[in-house]
Amino acid sequence: MEEIISSVFDFLTPQAIGVIISMIKIVIVLIGLILTVVFLVYFERKVLAYMHSRIGPNRVGPFGLLQSIADTLKLLLKEIIIPAKSDKFLFLLAPILLLVPALAAWAVVPLNPHFIIADIDAGLLYLLALTSFGVYGVILAGWASNSKYAFLGSMRAAAQMVAYEIAMGFALVGVLMAGGSLKLGVIVEAQSGGIFNWFWIPLFPLFIVYFISGIAETNRHPFDLSEGEAEIVAGFHVEYSGMGFAIFFLAEYINMALISILTSIMFLGGWESIFSGFTLFESTYLDFLTQPSIFWLLLKTLFFLFVFVWLRASFPRYRYDQLMTLGWKVLIPITIIWIGVECVMFVLEIGPWSLS
């Protein structure tokens, strides 16, 4: 790709070409994400419907596939109402503060060994910093709305996100110990060589804890206390209409996709094939199944997105004290104990990794 650009625009410096390539990558990821969100909403509604023995959206387009696009157009055309007693600046800033970190986090997510926007050394830390940044959008939205329901929702969200971030951070510590790097690409490389080398076996408790705290971080069911339709109407975004609401919605689904892809990268071997290491397919036309490819990554991501929807259909919402108990008294101790176990495994050289 660099050669093509430098041959067509031969007057550009290498730096400028680097910038252009980054821009192209950003546009590809951005368009991919928006399309993912559009069809993720459809996917969620359809899966939920079948789990509830309903049909789900089936009117707009074939099988209702264009339903989300119709909804987006409706939200775009709706009037944006800013409450009279609200803090207008922060009211408008809050959705952006939620969306920007959700998008920026994708900069360090590798989609295959070569496609990554910014291959920085401290990739995991960057992700942790950005996912923790999203809470400001929620807090400020609740405060700026000047509404009791919205304020209660944002208070709940703040306490919840701070609590679950710690468990998430500890789970990531386990991953970086096993992978030996903060770069996500290196972490995937460390898991190469078959399904039994993936980190979900030696780090099984951390895998579960990471996914649970990921659900809590995205404020999804069964941890969606900050929205809590039955208790506080719609929580922090109750006063938002039209595009304001759409941006909150977009950020939530982008974060869902982010948590899913990160779980697959860190615990399920990323783009490694499920069949890699199998000799059964060797020298047959099915050999391509054992090769690493982006489709494996997307398949694993889709599985976790399905789990998000599945949990939403299956579980009732947690009570607030139960949520706090789970975060502080269950998940954090599990991660701390498992990091200790991992240290012992490291020293005894049990597990897929070895001391280097």
Binding site: V135, Y136, L140, F151, V162
Partner: protein
């Protein structure tokens, strides 16, 4: 050229947002500008190729400390008028503290600047093997004792803070999940055959 331009634009944002922290009447706006100034100082560190420190600054201060700050400010709902009058009474003291900090900065930057030359070995190594790795190896080999002592002090602070705020309340009803699960329905409920009454 571009690097200088980025540096000066970030620095001016940093100065403006730091001033805004003190000058805003509304404490929530002050907190938000403090967040902005943390992020911009993180960016300045990124320009110095100290990406680990920059991200940790944002992670710790923006991701954790300021969330609690904002939380408390919003919960307290501080009255703006009393805030203003108290500002005038502490202003001379604040100016005094500020002057001390300026004097300290001057001694470090102007008088001792020869000690902080960019040709030091640590900075040279940092560009070769990456910031995070270098910091880790330095902390866990040469400075392991200091690092552990700092860790123990922080642990002590956590325990003290918890024990100061933990007040066991009497007559507090709590839920014990294991007892709830192990309940025997036969002890709770008795099925009685009632004769038809007419």
């Amino acid at each position: 050229m571009i690097k200088e331009l980025i540096f000066y634009s970030f620095s001016s944002v940093l100065i403006c947002s730091s001033l805004a922290v003190v000058l805003f009447r509304n404490p929530v706006y002050s907190a938000v500008s403090l967040i902005l100034s943390f992020i911009t100082s993180g960016f300045l560190w990124l320009l110095l190729e100290a990406e680990f420190l920059a991200i940790v600054l944002i992670l710790v201060y923006v991701g954790a400390v300021m969330v609690l700050f904002l939380f408390v400010i919003m919960m307290l709902n501080i009255n703006k008028e009393t805030e203003k009058s108290s500002f005038n009474s502490v202003a001379p003291f604040a100016v005094f503290i500020g002057l001390i900090i300026v004097a300290e900065l001057i001694t470090i930057i102007w008088i001792n600047s020869s000690q902080f030359s960019t040709s030091s070995t640590v900075i040279q190594q940092s560009s070769q093997m990456g910031n995070t790795l270098l910091l880790g190896t330095e902390l866990f080999t040469n400075y392991i004792l200091d690092f552990e002592i700092a860790g123990f002090i922080l642990l002590l602070a956590i325990i003290v803070a918890i024990s100061l705020t933990l007040r066991p309340r009497k007559n507090l009803k709590t839920q014990v999940a294991s007892e709830q699960i192990n309940v025997d329905p036969k002890k709770r409920m008795k099925l009685v055959d009632l004769k038809e009454t007419k």
